[in-house]
Structures are given as C-alpha cells and as structure tokens.
C-alpha cells in the first residue's frame, strides 16, 4: 500500500537563463524515505527547494510544470506560501541556528505560530528533541547559546527545530555532509525513525548513505530525472546505463 504524497509533473526550473531542472516527473510516496542522488549541479537541491517554494527567494527563478502535495498544486495563486513551509519542513546543508539559546531556537517556530502556552511549548521541545536524538545532550543546558554546540549536535538541533513546526514532509539537503561518522550514524538512525510519521526526502552525495536509509532512490543527472525506483532495485539492478555508470563510479 503506497500512498502518493507528492506528485511532480513535467517540472522545469530556471534561474535566469540557466536551466536547473528539465521536465522532471516523479511521484513520492508518503511515510517513505526517498533519496535523491546525482553529481554536483545536477539539480538535486533545486528540486528539493521547489517542494517548499524556497527557490522563490532566489532572484531570477522561474518554473514550468506543477508540484502537487496531496493532490493540491502548491504553486496555485491561492496557496499561502508561509503556511506551506509549515507543512514542508526543511533541514539545510549547513546548520543555520540562530545565535540565541538552545531553548529560543527550539521555541522560535511554536512562538511564531501562535502557541502561547509555555507548557505545550516545553512538551513539544522535549518531544522533538527526543526524536532528533539530542534531548539527553541538551536537556540540562537549554539556556546555553546554540552556537557553542558541536557541529553534529547543531545539525541534530536543526532537525529538532525543523520538527517543531510539526510538518508532514521533511526535506533534508545533505544533512550529514559536514559531520563525522558517529554523528552521521545518529542522523541516519533518526531518519529511519522519523519516516513513521513523516515523508522524507533526502538529498545526498553519499551513495552508501542513500542505500542505507532510503526506500526509494531517484538519480538526477544534468537536470533530468534519469531513474527512479526502489532503492534495492536501483542499486542492485539499475535499468539505465547512466545510473549504472554513476553507481559504479565511472563518472560523477
């Protein structure tokens, strides 16, 4: 039983005259982890950022085609972008915590979204931090400046912060690219746990990581979706020659 959560039709993305994506069509399933792999500059991040309309912050962005979440086109004129980003959370490549206390970082989104009850916020923080496997490390020093944490902790805190908006979909842009193996393992474990509740799309450079954590894998090359299949199938028996070449390290 697979439920289509995100459906992308013929999506092309341009930044000024540069085409980043070329007629991508893909169906992403709910409560699964979908990995997006491909060489640098193949449009992975651009694709990810169209799903919460983050690309619009870049001057010169244009797109063709449509992106549907639960059968609603998120690029319709009547879509509230701000609320869309509450539904589609995002974790960025490098940690971008605010230079405030750990607590303020975590309470930022709930406060902005109008939760006033201190108890609810505290519970939410504990819940998301436990999910993000960081609660034990920070629970005694919530008032410490978040930037004093180690890089791995910061990234997990970013994940926890992204979860405080209680999204449906979580986009992760190379969440472990700057981390050591231990932190990476923690984040991978975490992604595995999170899919029970969320639909997760992970962009990664690391093919072993994609193979370990994802249910489905999409291979992008030069702005095009080359192959999209179950991870086990794509990694063991790719149907496309380019995918096979990339996986075996012949290019990229």
């Amino acid at each position: 039983m697979r439920k289509v959560k995100i459906k992308v039709n013929e999506l092309s993305v341009f930044f000024n005259f540069l085409q980043a994506l070329n007629r991508v069509s893909i169906e992403i399933y709910g409560n699964k982890v979908t990995a997006i792999i491909g060489p640098s500059g193949c449009g992975k991040t651009s694709f990810l950022r169209t799903i919460n309309r983050m690309n619009e912050l870049i001057i010169g962005f244009r797109k063709k085609g449509e992106v549907l979440i639960d059968n609603i086109n998120i690029y319709n004129n009547n879509i509230d972008v701000v609320n869309l980003r509450r539904l589609v959370g995002m974790v960025f490549q490098s940690s971008n915590l605010f230079p405030k206390s750990i607590y303020e970082n975590l309470a930022f989104a709930p406060k902005i979204h109008g939760i006033k009850d201190q108890k609810i916020i505290d519970e939410l923080i504990e819940e998301t931090c436990t999910k993000a496997a960081i609660w034990e490390e920070i629970k005694d020093r919530l008032e410490v400046n978040a930037l004093t944490l180690s890089a791995g902790q910061q990234q997990r805190l970013c994940i926890a912060r992204a979860l405080t908006i209680q999204p449906d979909i979580l986009l992760m842009d190379e969440p472990a690219s700057m981390l050591d193996p231990i932190s990476t393992a923690k984040i991978e474990e975490l992604i595995f746990d999170l899919k029970k509740k969320y639909t997760i799309i992970v962009v990664t450079h690391n093919m072993q990581q994609a193979a370990r954590i994802s249910d489905f894998t999409a291979f992008f090359y030069l702005g095009q979706l080359v192959e999209y299949d179950k991870t086990t199938k794509l990694f063991t028996n790719p149907s496309n020659k380019q995918t096979e070449d990339y996986l075996t390290g012949r290019f990229g």
């Binding site: 912050l57 605010f98 930022f108 989104a109 902005i112 930037l147």
Partner: protein, 328 residues
C-alpha cells in the same frame, strides 16, 4: 635557462635601495599618524586641564550670570539634552523603518537606486543648508501654516526647540539609514532562510531574526549620529538657539486642579555648542569668559566621547555575533 637578468648581487643592491625607500615612507607614515594623534591629545589635554578647573556641581547646574562672565551652563546642558532627546524621537524610528524598507523590501529598480543615491548624498550636504531648510520648511511653512490655520497667534511659527530637533533629525537621518542598512545586510542569508523555512512570514523573520541580530550595528550608527547632532552648531543659528534665556523652556500644563511642569518644545533654548560660539565671538569680553568656554567645551566633548565609546562597545558586540554565525 635564465628567467630574468637578476642575479644574487643585484638583489642585494636592490634590497639596500628598497630599505632606504621603506625607511623614508615608514617614517613619513608614522610621523603623520602620530602628529594627528598628538594634535588631538594637545587639544584634549588643554581642554581637560583648563576645563576641569571650572567644572563643579554649581557650574553644571546654574545659569550664566553677570553678563555671561560668571555662573554656569545649566540651561545649555538642559537645552542640549532636550533637543537631542527630541531629535532621537524623530530620527530613530523613521531612520530604522526607512532602512528596513530599503534593505529588505525595496526591489532593485531604477527608482530605488536613485533613492539610495539620494540618501547617501544627503549625508554630504553642509549642515547650514539643513538649517536654512528647517527655517523655511518647519518654521515658516509648517509652523506659520499651523498658526494661521488654527489662529494660534505666534505659537509654532517661530524658531523653537521642536523645529531645531526636527531639523537635526533630518540632518542625522541619512547616517542612521545608511548604517542601519549596512547592519541589516550584514545579517547572513542563511539566518533569513532558516526563519522562512520554519514557516515564519517575511515580517516575522525581520522582527524576530534580522532586527535582533542587526540591533547592535544599528545602535552603533544611531549613537554616532546622535553625537554628531549633539555637537552641531550651524543649523541651530536659525532655529531658536538663544544667547541667554532667563528661564528654562519649561511651561506649566494646566490640568484644572493643579498644573504640572512640562518642557515646552515651542520655546527657545540654549545649546552647548552655540554657547561656546557666542562666548568666544559675541560676548562683551571673550577673555574673561575663557574659563567658562573651556568648561563648556569639556562638557560637550565628554558627552560626545561618551556616546562614541558606547558606539564602539556596540560595534564590538555586533562583530562578535556576526563572526559567531559565520564561523559555523
């Protein structure tokens, strides 16, 4: 194969030559730098030496007496503080909101570029021109206009504290705007992205993320412009600066049963920098007033230096936060 004609010997020769050049230029650079500092310390030293002899509590609080040759500078300190306070009230909100608009909202088109250039150029206009503008626009146009429309007699249509501070506000506005824009732009993009990614709206992002991080930078600009405003003299010549006022510009607000003392911004005022000017040039005997001039100068300079020091502290804090964010 030889790449150049330089051999070891010629290198030695050149080195000597460069050494002499370096020595001369280094000497000149140091000489000029130290002379500037020396001049500054000479001036400051003289002022502090002469000024501290006259400054005491009575000098700071009492009014000038005996045809300005005796007494203190209380009213001038009072006037300066009130005018600067009103100036902050006018200039800071306008300046910060203008900066937010120009750095966060304004699209990069011809109109907004002209706007930016205009603001930058405004900072270079001589202050006396602002004074004349204040006289023409605030006093004659707005003040007289108000008086004739509401039949208020001669209430606002004369040079007064209100118009002096409004004019000073316009004078320092470009500095506030430019430095605030810079502080806002210094907030890294990833901080805005983080906030927007958490479903914050643009205004929430500005209010909760960008402004708090830019605050020390903005404050630096604000304080520096305040210290500029506090030391300004020329525009005030037209705007109600008084040679001597027997009373503080305080009126009594009648509330029926009782009345409360209120600073009356529609009154004339005394001002520290102007006080120095008149004591040195307009008073009956500039030589006798010398000690008072030194005392006044020291008070004015102390205020300005104190403000600048605060600005330095804020700037230091601002840089620290920015470095913290960028280090990640």
């Amino acid at each position: 194969m030889k790449m150049t004609d330089i051999d070891i010997k010629s290198l030695i020769k050149n080195r000597k030559k460069t050494d002499l050049q370096t020595m001369i230029s280094m000497f000149l650079i140091k000489f000029f730098t130290y002379s500037i500092v020396a001049v500054l310390f000479l001036i400051l030293g003289k002022i502090v030496y002469e000024g501290s002899a006259v400054i005491n509590r009575q000098f700071l609080t009492s009014a000038p007496q005996n045809n300005m040759t005796e007494g203190g500078i209380g009213p001038a300190i009072f006037g300066t503080l009130v005018v600067v306070f009103l100036m902050i009230l006018f200039a800071v909100p306008v300046g910060i909101f203008a900066a937010i608009y120009m750095s966060e909202y304004a699209k990069d088109n011809v109109f907004n570029r002209i706007l930016r250039v205009t603001v930058n150029n405004l900072a270079g206009v001589p202050s006396i021109v602002f004074g004349l503008f204040g006289l023409g626009f605030f006093v004659l146009f707005i003040g007289r206009g108000y008086d004739s429309i509401f039949g208020a007699g001669l209430f606002l249509g004369k040079p007064a504290m209100l118009w002096a501070s409004a004019t000073l506000a316009i004078l320092v506005l470009p500095t506030i705007i430019v430095s605030s824009i810079e502080a806002l732009r210094a907030v890294p993009r990833n901080q805005r992205i983080a906030s927007l990614g958490l479903g914050a709206s643009k205004w929430q992002t500005i209010k909760n993320v960008v402004l708090p991080q830019a605050r020390p930078g903005i404050l630096t600009g604000v304080i520096l412009s305040i210290s500029r405003g506090a030391g300004e003299t020329a525009p005030l010549l037209f705007l109600g600066c008084a040679f001597f006022l027997p009373q503080l510009p305080v009126g009594y607000l009648d509330l029926g049963l009782f009345s409360i003392p209120m600073i009356n911004p529609a009154e004339q005022f005394m001002y520290l920098s102007y006080h120095i000017f008149i004591l040195a040039t307009q008073s009956t005997n500039p030589t006798i007033t010398m000690p008072i001039q030194y005392g006044t100068t020291m008070v004015l300079i102390s205020i300005v230096i104190l403000l600048n020091l605060t600005a330095v502290i804020f700037r230091y804090k601002f840089r620290q936060t920015m470095n913290e964010i960028k280090r990640v």
